[in-house]
C-alpha cells in the first residue's frame, strides 16, 4: 500500500544472533547500567531538613505589613477581597479610637482580617490591588501543612508582621456577622 505521509519505515524482524540468544551479554549490560546509577548523585531532597531554593518571584504565605513607625498599613478598604478570584479574604472594618494612633496608620483599620489558605490560589491579585502596600505574598515562606481545616484560616495574629500587641482575631476562627457587630460595638 502506498504510504500517505512517506514516513513509514519498513520494520525488519531479524532472527536473534547467538549473543542475543545467550541473554548474558544483555544482562551484564543492564547490570552495568544499574551499577552506574548506584554511584550517581541522588535526586532525593530530604524535605524537612532540606528545601528547594525559592524563585525570587515566588508567591507564598501572605503578610500584612506595618509602616516605618510600626503601625498597621491596612485600612480595611476591601479592595483585596474584591480582587480575590477565590474569595479567600474577609475582613471587618473598624474606626480608630483616640490614643491608637501608634497602632493604626489611618482612621479606619481592619478589626479582623482573615485569609483562607485552602481557598487561596496564591495568584497575587490582592497584592496588586492594595492601595496602601499592606498585603504581600512572601517569597520565602509557604503555608505549612496542618491537621485541621480551620487551622488554615489565617487571622491577623498570624498575618500581621511581628510585634502585634493588639491582635483581635482569634487564631483560626472566623468571625460571624453577629460577632463582628458585637466586636465593633465593644470598640465603639
Amino acid at each position: 500500500m502506498q504510504s500517505l505521509s512517506n514516513r513509514a519505515k519498513q520494520v525488519e524482524k531479524k532472527p536473534f544472533t547467538l549473543a542475543e540468544r545467550a541473554y548474558l551479554p544483555a544482562i551484564f549490560q543492564g547490570l552495568s547500567i544499574t551499577m552506574r546509577h548506584f554511584f550517581m548523585k541522588k535526586a532525593t531532597i530530604r524535605y524537612p531538613e532540606e528545601t528547594r531554593p525559592f524563585s525570587p518571584v515566588f508567591r507564598g504565605l501572605h503578610v500584612l505589613k506595618r509602616d516605618e513607625a510600626g503601625r498597621e498599613r491596612c485600612t480595611a478598604c476591601g479592595l483585596c477581597a474584591v480582587a480575590c478570584p477565590a474569595e479567600a479574604i474577609t475582613m471587618v472594618a473598624g474606626e480608630r479610637k483616640k490614643g491608637e494612633e501608634n497602632l493604626y496608620r489611618e482612621e479606619k483599620y481592619a478589626i479582623s482580617y482573615e485569609i483562607n489558605m485552602l481557598r487561596c490560589i496564591f495568584c497575587g491579585l490582592c497584592e496588586e490591588a492594595c492601595p496602601k502596600a499592606a498585603v504581600y505574598l512572601q517569597a520565602d515562606k509557604m503555608a505549612p501543612p496542618r491537621y485541621e481545616r480551620d487551622e488554615f484560616i489565617y487571622g491577623k495574629d498570624r498575618l500581621v508582621e511581628p510585634v502585634s500587641p493588639d491582635a483581635r482575631s482569634k487564631r483560626g476562627i472566623q468571625l460571624t456577622d453577629e460577632q463582628a457587630v458585637k466586636l465593633r460595638a465593644q470598640l465603639a
Partner: protein, 359 residues
C-alpha cells in the same frame, strides 16, 4: 563425641541460627537501600542513623497487624505453611562450614553446625522440602491466585532443581565427596597452587547461580509471587507475622544460597595467601601454631561472610535490573537450555578429568 564438644557444637549451631536471623533481618533493610540507590533515591533513612533501625520498625509493624484467616481456609494448614517455610529455611544452614577449626588446648571446635558426609545432599533435600511450605500455604488459602502462585512455585522449583543438581554433579566429579567441608578444603591446599572451583567450572557456576535465583523465587524468576498477575501469589491471603515468616524465609534462603555458592565455587572460608600469612605469623611474630591457625580461621570466616554478602548484593542488584520472565520462557530456559547445558558441562568435566587437565 564428648559432652564438651557437643556443648561447643551447640554454641556454634546457636550462633549460626542467630546469624541467619540477623542477616535476614538486615537483608530487608539492604534490599530497600540497594533498590533506592539503583534508582537514584536514598531509601529509608528516618528510623535511627541511616535508617538502621528500620527492620525493628518493620517487625513491630508486622507483629501488631491483624491476624487474618480467609473464609473457607484450612486453618491448620494455613498456619503450617509459613512455619514449614521458615523451619526448612533455617535448617539448611546447618551443614555449611562457616570457618575452619579453632583449637583451644585439647578442644577443637569446627565452625560448622554439623559435619555430615552427605552435606550437599542434605542442603538439597531441605531446600526441596521448602517448596512444601509455599505449596501448603497457597493451597490452604482457598484462593485461586494463591493456588496459582503455589503451583508455579512447585513446578518452577522442581524444574530448576534438576539443572541445579546436574550442575552440582560436575563439581562432585572433581571433589569426589559431598561433604561441604571437604569441598572447601580441597579448594586450597598448603604448598600447592590451587584454584577455586569457579576457575574449573565457569559454566557450571552460571547454571548453578541461575538455578539458585529460581530456587529462592527471586527476580527474574519471581513468578510465584508476581504482583502484577497474581496479586501476591502464594502469600496473597497472609497478613501479620505469618506473611513476615514467608518474607523472612525468602531472605534466609538467599543467605543460604549465597553461602552454598561461596562454598562450592568461591573457596568457602579460604582466602588468598592464607598459608603464607600463617607461616609469617608463626616465624616472624612468634605466634603459637594453634593461635596462628585460630587467627587464620577467624579471617577465613570474615572472608566467607564477605563472599556471602557480595552474593546477597548480587541477588538484589539483579532484582532491580532485570524484568520478570514469562512463564513459558521460564520453563523453556529451565528444561531446554539449562538442563542440556548442564549435561554438556558434565561431559566436558568428565573429558577434562580423563585427560588430566583438571582434577
Amino acid at each position: 563425641m564428648s559432652l564438651e564438644t557437643l556443648g561447643w557444637q551447640g554454641l556454634v549451631i546457636l550462633a549460626v541460627f542467630g546469624l541467619s536471623l540477623l542477616i535476614a533481618t538486615y537483608c530487608t533493610y539492604a534490599e530497600r537501600v540497594i533498590a533506592a540507590f539503583l534508582q537514584d533515591r536514598v531509601g529509608p533513612d528516618r528510623a535511627g542513623p541511616y535508617g538502621l533501625l528500620q527492620p525493628l520498625a518493620d517487625a513491630v509493624k508486622m507483629f501488631t497487624k491483624e491476624e487474618f484467616f480467609p473464609g473457607g481456609a484450612n486453618k491448620a494448614l494455613f498456619i503450617f505453611g509459613p512455619c514449614l517455610a521458615m523451619v526448612t529455611a533455617l535448617m539448611s544452614s546447618a551443614v555449611i562450614p562457616f570457618g575452619n577449626k579453632l583449637t583451644f588446648g585439647d578442644t577443637i571446635v569446627w565452625l560448622q553446625g554439623i559435619e555430615i558426609n552427605v552435606g550437599m545432599l542434605y542442603v538439597f533435600g531441605i531446600v526441596s522440602l521448602g517448596v512444601y511450605g509455599l505449596m501448603i500455604g497457597g493451597w490452604a488459602s482457598n484462593n485461586k491466585f494463591s493456588l496459582l502462585g503455589a503451583v508455579r512455585a512447585a513446578s518452577q522449583n522442581i524444574s530448576y532443581e534438576l539443572a541445579m543438581g546436574l550442575a552440582l554433579i560436575a563439581v562432585l566429579m572433581m571433589s569426589g565427596t559431598l561433604s561441604l567441608r571437604e569441598i572447601t578444603l580441597q579448594q586450597s591446599v598448603a604448598g600447592e597452587w590451587h584454584f577455586w572451583n569457579i576457575v574449573k567450572q565457569p559454566l557450571g557456576f552460571i547454571i548453578f547461580c541461575t538455578c539458585a535465583f529460581a530456587e529462592t523465587n527471586r527476580t527474574p524468576f519471581d513468578l510465584p509471587e508476581c504482583e502484577a498477575e497474581l496479586i501476591g501469589g502464594y502469600h496473597t491471603e497472609y497478613s501479620s507475622m505469618k506473611l513476615g515468616l514467608y518474607l523472612f524465609s525468602e531472605y534466609i534462603n538467599i543467605f543460604v544460597a549465597s553461602a552454598v555458592m561461596s562454598v562450592l565455587y568461591f573457596g568457602g572460608f579460604n582466602f588468598p595467601f592464607q598459608y603464607e600469612l600463617r607461616e609469617w605469623l608463626i616465624s616472624n611474630q612468634g605466634v603459637g601454631t594453634d593461635m596462628a591457625q585460630n587467627i587464620i580461621t577467624g579471617l577465613g570466616t570474615v572472608a566467607l561472610f564477605g563472599k556471602i554478602f557480595a552474593f546477597i548484593f548480587f541477588f538484589m542488584w539483579v532484582r532491580w535490573t532485570l524484568p520478570r520472565f514469562r512463564y513459558d520462557q521460564l520453563m523453556r530456559l529451565g528444561w531446554s537450555i539449562l538442563i542440556p547445558l548442564a549435561i554438556f558441562n558434565i561431559l566436558l568435566t568428565g573429558g577434562l578429568i580423563t585427560f588430566g587437565v583438571i582434577k
